[in-house]
């Protein structure tokens, strides 16, 4: 209902500003809860929108992956196969496949439509913690508690390269938009950038006081890197120059590897979960907190943004176990 009201009130301003909408960035979003998705029986670990915007995939400590319809929040299907908790899930670019990283030391490639596991990627010697497809979705990168990053061929499920990347568990891995680079973050406090083709380390980003890196991601255009560290800080780096450009603070993140995200569908925001059970939204340029989404009853471990619409999905840990979809007009 709040949504309705907001929609009305903003309708006029939207009209008035429609003329110069292109150059005027809305000051604040007005995200409001739209759906609460119930289904997981354990802490949810990760939620991701499919690139085509149709689906939401969630992984959880109940060893399951669930697919939800974004449009109506309806539960769609469950992918099961992992023998231990799942830490991360990622979509292929064509939204047809998923890859999941599990504590059973394997990754699995899933065909979403049939719900079948296509490949099991074995090779890590400890929990697999994070994973991602490359933009062409012929490669998968995974990070593990065995401190290595592995690059896998999707087609054959073979590990093509193992990067002895870090000296602590790898918390996040991500391809840039062209697929030429991989960024990895680790509890050892380093962010490394790798040449995907050769597996060579091109750059290492390191902060003065070396807090564990809990999340790292390329910006949509691949020019910047967003990192989260366990000192409740998000930073935006210009990695080519190794410089930190922006710092986003105000939330609480000292224990969990909480996902963060660029929201580019409306205004340019940074979205992240927080250990105070809220979702925080910052203005990317001004670094101000522009909105906090309240509703979860446990740590918001994952917050993700819809690729084309102003929708945020958030998921919380075991006291909550729910996924919430939030929407905004801009």
């Amino acid at each position: 209902m709040a949504t309705e009201e907001a929609g009305d009130s903003k309708g006029e301003s939207a009209l008035s500003s429609s003329a110069n909408r292109s150059n005027q960035v809305p000051e604040k979003p007005n995200y409001a809860l739209r759906f609460t998705l119930l289904g997981h029986t354990e802490a949810v670990s990760s939620v991701k929108f499919s690139p085509d915007g149709e689906w939401l995939a969630s992984s959880a400590a109940d060893k399951l992956i669930k697919i939800w319809s974004v449009r109506d929040g309806k539960y769609e299907k469950t992918l099961c196969g992992h023998s231990l908790e799942i830490s991360d899930v990622a979509w292929s670019s064509d939204s047809s496949r998923l890859v999941s990283a599990s504590d059973d030391k394997t990754l699995k490639i899933w065909e979403v439509r049939s719900g079948k596991c296509l490949k099991t990627l074995k090779g890590h010697s400890n929990y697999v913690f994070c994973c991602n497809f490359n933009p062409l979705s012929n490669l998968i990168v995974s990070g593990s508690f065995d401190e290595s990053v592995k690059i896998w061929e999707v087609e054959t499920g073979k590990c093509l390269k193992t990067l002895s990347a870090h000296s602590d568990p790898v918390s996040a891995v991500h391809f840039n938009c062209s697929g030429s680079l991989i960024v990895s973050g680790s509890y050892d406090g380093l962010c490394r950038i790798w040449d995907a083709a050769s597996g060579q380390c091109l750059k290492t980003l390191v902060d003065d006081d070396n807090p564990p890196v809990s999340f790292v991601q390329f910006s949509p255009n691949g020019k910047y890197i967003l990192t989260a560290t366990l000192d409740s800080t998000l930073k935006l780096w210009d990695y080519s120059r190794g410089r930190c450009l922006k710092t986003y603070t105000g939330h609480k993140n000292e224990k969990y590897c909480i996902f963060a995200n660029f929201s580019v569908t409306g205004g340019k925001w940074i979205v992240s979960g927080s250990e105070d059970n809220m979702v925080y939204i910052w203005n990317l340029q001004t670094k101000e907190i522009v909105q906090k989404l309240q509703g979860h009853t446990d740590v918001v471990i994952s917050a993700t943004c819809h690729p084309t619409e102003n929708i945020i999905a958030s998921a919380a840990l075991e006291n909550d176990k729910t996924i919430k979809l939030w929407m905004s007009d801009h």
Binding site: L139, T156, N221, K246
Partner: protein, 904 residues
């Protein structure tokens, strides 16, 4: 950005603008071009205020330095969304992709059993490794790893805008790794045939395609070895499959194939004759580097190409660096004269690579040619950049185009600008971004800018055409009055020259056929002949050289004489100049003294390092070298064989140095281990008398068959291989002279005997009088063998002092004497400051150039490698160290001359 409108528009606009297509495409200062279009009166920013003859530099693929904003204001909006548009590939992407996937499309041809189901994705687990030997397992794993990396690169690069180039780079890398793996088993025929069969049978199709790609690439580089590897599969497969496979492997694909073949360069106006000056003596048996051959064929699109190759007198035996150099210049020169007489109205264009470029320039000073093109100009020398007041190059009148690499070791764009300011000839400069001395761009450059070497080469060619067209059309316009102009120019020249160095120029221009003796006194400093005499106190070398000279005189229009005098003239000045660097305080005094001192002591003044203790050894060495250079003879093979050698000895210095100095052998590094051996092989086959004796060496060498494919006819440096290996070792040994002295002496005396024999052999063939020092010629022939053997033995055993010291002597003499070293030396001599500067490095050279060169080579090799003045200091000791003398680096050259007087 305005040109982004598709390739076709691009091409037409490029044509319309009258410049080369690729030049337009290249990262060129486009903004400036646009300025010129609108404001044709504007001076180019790079115009030289002082030098009207120097045209503004053209930059090819030089990435403009972007101005980074020094501070990033926090309120500058950060755009996290917009993806920077990727540059349009400069080649026909579609075509490139199609050739890129050739191997994938035809992968089935490689399968011996085409009907069998393709191996499953998890083929790796199905490979039955039972019964494999350790070596087989090792080799297989290595290849597998290489292919896996290649697979990763393929997948990661898939869909990238410049995927073909990235793929090309990745395939090259994979091919290199495969070659390394195969070289690690010494290309053992059985093993590699087994490997090929196994891979073909077991690999999954994508992997097999990658493997074929690697084979295709290697086939272009080492055809014989790859053929040997494929033999077995051919017998098994049907003939059709084999044929298809061999067709597929015929030549490596090139992403730029389409765009280049669609834009053929046009012929030059005036149908000029293009003379290519070789950068070293050549032989028909040892082909020039692939790159040079490629360029030769490229240039033949522009006009008639006449490569001027220099074959050595006497099969190269007994020919020193200087003589060789003279010979090279003489050859080019006589060719120019010949063409002039046959086709008096045909324009002649001289083109040369590196040293060849210098040769071309020097010839252009002596003879009339229409234009000179210098590809990779060795501007920097030990004494600093060329173009000092006494540099004969400054007298050039011929329009000259310099094409240099941005990352060249022997050249620097800025130094080049300085040099150009001083040249009076009309000159242009093209800087190729990210390219080395041989104008090859780096892998990183290829990757980042989506370039291929072939595209860069085409751009360079277009630049050459641009330049030559301008020069030739002008020349054509003046055709009628040409001869007169020429005469006028000739007349003017001596006058100009006279202002600067009367003695040399006048006699050369005016009275070339006059007897050299008559001209000698004309030299300005007067001391030059004296110093040359003085530096060669022994009468033996002198007489010998004289005979050589006279022999040459008959055949070479006396050009060698001229050269020699040229050299002599400058010698004094340059020796002095070197001294200046070290003894600035004594400069003036020295000059004064010099005039007064008796000839015998003159050089000592400048090089006051006469190390008494090493004198004895030096004497021995000298004698050895004197002899040794005879075996050293055949420059022909030298180039091919020498470069790898350098690579071997300095392999740890990294890619840059290695790449720069080993242009002749594509993927040299991995086989470097085999190369020295091969050189021994070359020597063996060349010096036929010794072949039988050297069978051991030969058999070991035969494993690296790619090199044996180019049968070294030359008696290449009997000891090239050991010497290369020992360069470092000998340096170590040299550090403890006390130890090495006796050993060296004994070794040298041994060598002395050996070299006598060879000298004898060579003198027979050459008709040269044997050197006066009496040697036990007959039995020495048999003694010759032990030298390489011993040094080889020293490699392995190298425990006792004596054994270890042998290499010292060997290295010394062999490095000096090796023909393998000669081109480098020549090159370096040129590098050192042109012909004029030769003398400074080799004071006694006129008379005893052989000896001198012998001593000099080690130094120069190292220098060539490093190329950068800053490093020379650290490096030169290698040379001097090898020579058992402990002078500081800069004095290495003078010191070699210093060593001459005490010679027997």
């Amino acid at each position: 950005m305005a040109h982004r409108g598709g390739e076709r528009d691009f091409q037409t606009s490029a044509r319309r603008m009258g410049t080369s297509l690729l030049f337009q495409l290249s990262v060129h200062e486009r903004e400036l071009d646009l300025v010129f279009l609108d404001h044709s009166y504007a001076k180019p920013w790079s115009a030289h205020p002082d030098a009207s003859s120097a045209r503004p530099t053209r930059m090819l693929f030089v990435t403009p330095r972007r101005q980074h904003e020094s501070t990033i204001e926090s309120d500058v909006p950060i755009d996290v969304e917009t993806v920077t548009s990727t540059p349009v590939p400069l080649y026909d992407n579609q075509k490139a992709r199609s050739v890129m996937n050739e191997c994938e499309r035809h992968v089935i041809f490689a399968r011996t059993d085409a009907d069998a189901p393709p191996p499953p994705e998890d083929w790796e687990d199905h490979v039955n490794r039972t019964g494999w030997t350790m070596a087989q397992n090792k080799l297989f794993n290595k290849i597998l790893k290489a292919l896996q990396s290649d697979r990763l690169a393929r997948l990661a690069n898939e869909g990238a805008c410049n995927e073909p180039v990235l793929r090309r780079v990745a395939v090259d890398k994979c091919a290199r790794r495969v070659r390394q793996a195969l070289a690690s088993v010494s290309w053992d025929t059985k093993l590699i045939q087994w490997l090929h069969t196994t891979l073909v049978e077991t690999l999954s199709l994508p992997m097999l395609a990658a493997y074929l790609d690697a084979l295709q690439t290697l086939k272009g580089k080492i055809p014989t070895l790859i053929d040997r590897m494929l033999v077995s599969s051919h017998t098994k497969t049907g003939a059709a499959g084999a044929e298809a496979l061999s067709l597929l492997l015929k030549r490596p694909w090139d992403p730029a194939v389409g765009v280049l073949s669609h834009n053929k360069p046009s012929k030059l106006p005036g149908s000029p004759l293009i003379l290519i000056a070789s950068s070293g003596p050549s032989s028909s048996v040892f082909p020039t580097s692939r790159r040079h051959r490629f360029w030769q064929s490229q240039l033949s699109c522009l006009g008639k190409v006449i490569p001027v190759s220099t074959h050595l007198l006497n099969n190269g035996s007994g020919v020193g660096v200087l003589q060789c150099l003279e010979h090279m210049i003489g050859a080019v020169r006589s060719k120019v004269l010949e063409i002039h007489s046959h086709f008096p109205h045909k324009p002649i264009v001289l083109i040369g690579w590196n040293t060849g470029a210098l040769v071309a320039c020097h010839v252009s000073v002596m003879e009339y040619v229409t234009a000179v093109v210098c590809l990779g100009f060795p501007l920097l020398t030990v004494d600093g950049p060329r173009g000092d007041v006494d540099d004969p190059l400054l007298d050039m009148k011929t329009p000259v185009l310099f094409v240099i690499g941005q990352n060249s070791l022997q050249c620097h764009p800025e130094a080049m600008e300085d040099f150009r300011e001083k040249i009076r000839a009309e000159n242009s400069l093209v800087v190729v971004g990210g390219a080395d001395d041989n104008l090859r761009i780096s892998k990183a450059k290829k990757k980042s800018e989506g370039l291929t070497q072939s595209m860069v080469d085409r751009c360079i060619q277009d630049e050459i055409v641009d330049f030559l067209t301008g020069v030739l059309t002008r020349a054509e316009g003046h055709m009628g009055s040409e001869p007169r102009d020429q005469d006028a120019e000739k007349k003017k020249k001596p006058r100009d020259a006279a202002r600067r160095d009367l003695a040399f120029e006048v006699p050369e221009r005016g009275s070339r056929p006059a007897s050299p003796a008559a001209k000698l006194p004309a030299s300005p400093s007067g001391s030059e002949d004296l110093s040359s005499v003085s530096s060669s106190p022994t009468s033996s070398p002198k007489t010998k050289v004289t005979t050589v000279t006279s022999a040459q005189k008959s055949s070479q229009i006396g050009s060698s004489q001229l050269l020699k005098r040229h050299v002599q003239r400058t010698e004094a000045v340059l020796t002095h100049k070197q001294a200046q660097a070290q003894f600035a305080a004594f400069l003036k005094q020295n000059m004064l003294v010099r005039k007064a001192v008796p000839p015998g002591s003159s050089s000592c003044l400048f090089v006051p390092i006469s190390s008494e203790q090493t004198e004895e050894v030096e004497k021995e060495d000298l004698r050895v070298q004197l002899k040794r250079h005879h075996p050293s003879s055949p420059l022909p093979g030298s180039k091919a064989s020498k470069r790898p050698k350098i690579k071997v000895s300095l392999i740890s210095h990294g890619d840059a140095a290695g790449g720069a100095c080993a242009p002749s052998q594509g993927g040299a590094p991995e086989v470097s281990g085999g190369k020295p051996v091969t050189m021994t092989l070359g020597q063996a086959s060349g010096a036929k008398e010794l072949t039988g004796l050297l069978t051991t060496a030969k058999s070991s060498a035969s494993s690296e068959g790619g090199l044996s494919a180019s049968p070294a006819s030359s008696a290449v440096s009997s000891s090239t291989a050991p010497s290369a290996v020992h360069t470092l070792q000998s340096r170590l040994v040299a550090a403890s002279p006390g130890n090495s002295l006796p050993g060296a002496t004994s070794a040298s005396s041994l060598l002395q005997g050996l070299s006598f024999s060879l000298q004898d052999i060579s003198s027979k063939s050459s008709g040269l009088p044997a050197s006066p020092s009496p040697g036990p010629a007959p039995q020495a022939t048999s003694m010759k063998l032990p030298t390489p053997m011993q040094s080889l033995g020293a490699i392995t055993t190298g425990t006792s002092t004596i054994v270890r010291t042998i290499p010292v002597a060997t290295t010394l003499s062999s490095l000096g004497a090796t023909p393998g070293g000669k081109p480098t030396a020549i090159h370096q001599l040129l590098t050192n400051g042109g012909l004029a500067k030769l003398a400074s490095s080799l004071p006694g050279l006129a008379q005893i150039s052989n000896q001198a060169s012998g001593l000099k080579v080690p130094t120069t090799i190292t220098l060539t490698l490093r190329g950068q003045p800053s490093r020379i200091t650290t490096l030169s000791p290698v040379g001097s160290g090898a020579a058992l003398s402990e002078e500081p680096a800069p004095q290495a050259l003078p010191s070699s001359s210093q060593r001459l007087p005490p010679a027997p």
